[in-house]
Amino acid sequence: MSQAFDKLLDARGLNCPMPLVNARREIARIEIGQVLKVVASDRGSVADFQGWSKVAKNVELVGQETEPAEGGNVYVHYVKRTA
């Protein structure tokens, strides 16, 4: 997928709740309207990022994808800062 992004966060190897916590930290460092790409190996992060975007008023999940990688799948999330 060719989803554009402004910043990349590598959360591979991290477990719950760290991908979410680090993404939250990074989203505060980008401008409103910009997109953060998060790459995680934690399977639970797929539902976690959906939940986050549902609850938080300042983020929108603009895309999610699963990519096969060495030693298991990689889960990619595109989060847009909206406020």
């Binding site: 190897g13 477990n15 719950c16 709740p17 916590v21 993404a23 939250r24 976690d48 008023k57």
Partner: protein, 193 residues
Amino acid sequence: MDTGAETSFARDAERLQALEEKTRELEKRLAQVEGQAPEDRVTLVIFSGDLDRVLAAFVIATGAAAMGEQVSMFFTFWGLSVLKKGKQLSGKTLFQQMMTVMSPGSSESLPVSKMNYFGVGAKMLRSMMKQKNVSSLEEMIALARELGVRMIACEMSRDVMGIHDSELVGGLECGGVASCLADALKSRTSLFI
């Protein structure tokens, strides 16, 4: 003079006044309802001093804080062990001293709720978590602080168990049931762990 028009004006003015009054009343009620609506807030009561339960509490706390919730954690009874930084025996009654000796002196010596086997189980769990690259309890406590999670030590249980302020880590608030409930009543989610 056209009296018909005059009475019609008077009637309109009356109607307008009634409407204005109604609007004021509705605004007042709306403000009341808004005051009672829950906030983006999560309140956790940490009663347990078991490593596994406390870990769950901190995963929820840091996760909620990351999602933009305001998080308060109330530590009471065995949960106070999480906040300890050491043991001190002086200035305590015999029972309090006994309790101090038999309780963990810090988060690092918390037992697990099942299969503890005198601390071997807790060590095993910690090493298994490390293998899976899950943050340790101590890392999560530091993270919770960094994310602005409020930590409140229950004054009553601290006093009963004879835990001195000097035995607890810094940066804590102290409070009672009312401060806990004040937060819980405004929260969408409250958990007792």
